[in-house]
C-alpha cells in the first residue's frame, strides 16, 4: 500500500517544563519524533512488510511528511532510518501553524500523492490536541478510524477493520481504502497489525516502535527528502489559534508518609474526610 505518515517533532516529554516570557522555554530542548507518530510509522511498516521475513512487500511505499522548522529534518531522517521510503519537509515555524494550517497542507499532499491510507499518531504529546486526523478526514470527505489499537487489512485490500478503544470496551469499525487512521499506543502490540502477508504466527517484539538499524541510518542519508514551503500547498502562516500565555500548575501541597494502615485509615476518615 502507499501510505502517507504525517509526523511532528516534539520536545522530549521527560524534560521538565520551564516558562520564559509567558511561554514554554524550549532553549536547549532535546527533540524527538512524537511517540504516537513513531507508532504510526511502525504501523505503516507492519502493513507493508512480511514481518517474518523482514522484507518489504514489492510495490509498497511509505511517505513521511512533517511541517516544522529546518531542524525538524533530523526527526524526519529518523523515520526514514526506521524504513520509510521518502520524505516531504514543509518548512514553517511552530508559531506559524495550527491544526487547520496543517490540515490544509496535508489535503494538498493527499491530492498530489493519492495514498491508500493516511496513518498518523492520535495526538502530539506536546499540544495534546488530538485534532488533525479527524479534521483531515472531514476535509477530504474520507472515513476515519481514530485511536486504533489494532488493524486488519481485508483480503481484497479494499478495507481495514480497526479496533478502537472507546469508553466501555473495544469498538470494531470497518473503513474503506482510502481512509485516515490515527493510532493509539496498543497498535504496537505483538499481533496488533494484520496485513494478510505476515504469517499469523509471527509476533513482533511488542515494545513500541522499532529502533533504526545502523544499515537503516546509512540508507536514510540517501533517501529523498523534498523541501517545500507552506505556500507551495496553498497554505499561509495565518493561525486561527494563538497561545496567549502558559502557566505551570501550582505544585501539590507536600504529602506525608504514614507508618501503618490503621493510621492511614484514621487520617483518611478524620483529616481528609474521604472515608
Amino acid at each position: 500500500m502507499k501510505i502517507l505518515v504525517p509526523i511532528k517533532r516534539v520536545p522530549d516529554p521527560t524534560q521538565k517544563a520551564k516558562i520564559k516570557d509567558g511561554h514554554i522555554d524550549l532553549t536547549g530542548a532535546s527533540w524527538i519524533v512524537n511517540t504516537f507518530d513513531e507508532y504510526a510509522i511502525e504501523t505503516a511498516l507492519r502493513l507493508d512488510e512480511n514481518g517474518a521475513e523482514n522484507a518489504r512487500i514489492p510495490g509498497t511505499e511509505i511517505i513521511v511528511l512533517s511541517i516544522g522548522p529546518d531542524d525538524a529534518a533530523k526527526e524526519i531522517r529518523t523515520c526514514l532510518a526506521m524504513g520509510a521510503d521518502r520524505a516531504i519537509h514543509v518548512v514553517a515555524k511552530d508559531d506559524e501553524i495550527d491544526s487547520l494550517t496543517v490540515v490544509k497542507v496535508l489535503q494538498a499532499v493527499v491530492a498530489a500523492e493519492k495514498p491508500d491510507l493516511v496513518i498518523m499518531g492520535k495526538q502530539a504529546v506536546d499540544g495534546d490536541a488530538n485534532q488533525v486526523g479527524q479534521m483531515l478526514a472531514g476535509k477530504l470527505g474520507w472515513a476515519q478510524a481514530t485511536f486504533a489499537a489494532s488493524l486488519e487489512l481485508a483480503a481484497d485490500k479494499k478495507s481495514v477493520v480497526v479496533g478502537r478503544e472507546v469508553d466501555g470496551g473495544v469498538e470494531y469499525k470497518r473503513v474503506p481504502v482510502p481512509s485516515v487512521i490515527t493510532v493509539d499506543l496498543r497498535i504496537v502490540g505483538a499481533k496488533a497489525v494484520k496485513n494478510g502477508v505476515t504469517p499469523e504466527t509471527h509476533s513482533y517484539p511488542g515494545e513500541g516502535a522499532r529502533l533504526p538499524s545502523l544499515k537503516g541510518i546509512m540508507a536514510a542519508k540517501k533517501k529523498p527528502m523534498a523541501v517545500a514551503k507552506l505556500a507551495d500547498y496553498g497554505a499561509a502562516a495565518a493561525p486561527v489559534i494563538t497561545e496567549k500565555s502558559v502557566t505551570l500548575p501550582p505544585p501539590r501541597a507536600a504529602g506525608q508518609f504514614v507508618a501503618d494502615i490503621p493510621t492511614l485509615v484514621k487520617k483518611l476518615a478524620d483529616e481528609a474526610k474521604v472515608l
Partner: protein, 324 residues
C-alpha cells in the same frame, strides 16, 4: 451574540454524567456569547432522552433517522448533522465532552465548519479564550481562537455536572438529512461489562500498577474497590502487560480522572500516569519503594508491600464502617 450547541451523549433515556459537564461548560460559554444553550441529541433513542435533556437546557434538538442509519455512532454520519444544526441555529460555540466519542467527532465537526478548536479545556476565560492542559498536564496554555464559530471539548473532570434548571425546555425534532457513512461501517463492540461506576464518574478510584504482577492479584484491589463503591483503574504498565482491560488505563493516553479519593497501589508514577490522576482531591500511594515518584504527588504515602497493605486496609475500613 450566538448560541451554544452542546452535543450530549445519552443512554437508556438519560443524559450521561459526562454530558452534564458539557452542559456546565455550555452555560458558562452562553453567558459570554449572550446566547442560549441548545442540547443536541443524535441517534437512536434521542427523542426518548429529550425529556431529561429538557430539564437541563432551555432548548433541546433531537435527531433520529427513520431507517436507523444513525443507530450506531459514526463520526462520518454524525459530524454533518452537528455542523448543519450549528449553522441553522446560529451557534457560535459547538461543544461536546472530551469522551471517546467527543474526541473522535468534534475535530471533524470543526473541519466542516472551518472552525478553530480548543481540545480538552479546563476553563473558559472569555468568549474566545480557553485554558487547556498541555504537555501531559504539566502546563496550562491559554489559547484564543479567532474564527466566527469555535469548537470546544471540555474535560469532564474540570466541570461540575450541570444541575437541573427547575423548568422544562422545548424539545424539537430535526431531520437527519442525507446520511452517508462514506464507506465506514460499525462492525461490533466488545463491551466490558461492570457493575462498578464509570471510571470518569467515580468518587473513589482504586488503581494498580506493574507491581501487582498479575491480573489474578488485582482481585484483592477489586475487593477494596467494591467495599468503597469505587471504580477500578490501572497504570499503562498493567494494561500493556494484559493484566487488566485496556479501558481501565488512567493517564495521558487513557482516562483522565479526578475523584475525591485515588488509591495508587504498586504504581511507580510515570509522568504519563500522573497526567491522568493528579487532579484527584486526595491521593494515597502504597508502594514498597519509598523513592518512587508517585509519592511526590501523594497526600498520604505508605511504604509497604501491597500483599500486606491491602488486606489490612480492607479489614480496617470494614472496622471503621462497622463503628459508624
Amino acid at each position: 451574540m450566538g448560541n451554544v450547541l452542546a452535543f450530549c451523549e445519552y443512554s437508556d433515556g438519560q443524559l450521561r454524567t459526562s454530558a452534564l459537564a458539557n452542559l456546565a461548560f455550555a452555560r458558562q460559554a452562553a453567558k459570554f456569547h449572550a446566547g442560549d444553550v441548545i442540547a443536541l441529541l443524535v441517534g437512536q433513542g434521542a427523542a426518548a432522552a429529550g425529556a431529561h435533556a429538557a430539564k437541563l437546557a432551555p432548548k433541546v434538538i433531537t435527531v433520529e433517522a427513520d431507517g436507523g442509519e444513525l443507530a450506531n455512532y459514526l463520526a462520518e454520519t454524525y459530524a454533518p448533522v452537528v455542523a448543519r444544526l450549528a449553522k441553522e441555529n446560529g451557534a457560535t460555540v459547538v461543544c461536546a465532552t472530551a469522551t471517546a466519542v467527543g474526541k473522535d467527532l468534534m475535530p471533524r465537526v470543526a473541519a466542516l465548519l472551518d472552525a478553530g478548536m480548543a481540545s480538552d479545556i479546563a476553563k473558559v476565560e472569555a468568549k474566545d479564550t480557553f485554558v487547556r492542559p498541555i504537555l501531559a498536564g504539566n502546563a496550562y496554555s491559554t489559547v484564543q481562537i479567532t474564527t466566527p464559530i469555535v469548537v470546544v471539548t471540555p474535560r469532564q473532570s474540570e466541570f461540575e455536572p450541570a444541575a437541573e434548571l427547575g423548568g422544562a425546555g422545548t424539545v424539537t425534532a430535526a431531520p437527519a438529512g442525507t446520511v452517508d457513512a462514506l464507506g465506514a461501517k460499525f462492525e461490533r463492540i466488545d463491551a466490558q461489562k461492570s457493575d462498578r461506576p464509570e471510571l470518569t464518574d467515580a468518587k473513589v478510584v482504586v488503581s494498580g500498577g506493574r507491581g501487582m504482577k498479575s491480573g489474578e492479584n488485582f482481585k484483592v484491589l477489586e475487593e477494596l474497590a467494591d467495599l468503597l463503591g469505587a471504580a477500578m483503574g490501572a497504570s499503562r504498565a498493567a494494561t500493556d502487560a494484559g493484566m487488566v482491560p485496556a479501558d481501565w488505563q488512567v493517564g495521558q493516553t487513557g482516562k483522565i480522572v479526578a475523584p475525591n479519593l485515588y488509591f495508587a497501589v504498586a504504581i511507580s508514577g510515570a509522568i504519563q500516569h500522573l497526567a491522568g490522576m493528579k487532579g484527584s482531591k486526595t491521593i494515597v500511594a502504597i508502594n514498597k519503594n519509598k523513592d518512587e515518584p508517585i509519592f511526590q504527588v501523594a497526600d498520604y504515602g505508605v511504604v509497604m508491600e501491597w500483599e500486606k497493605a491491602i488486606p489490612e486496609l480492607i479489614s480496617e475500613i470494614k472496622k471503621l464502617k462497622a463503628s459508624r
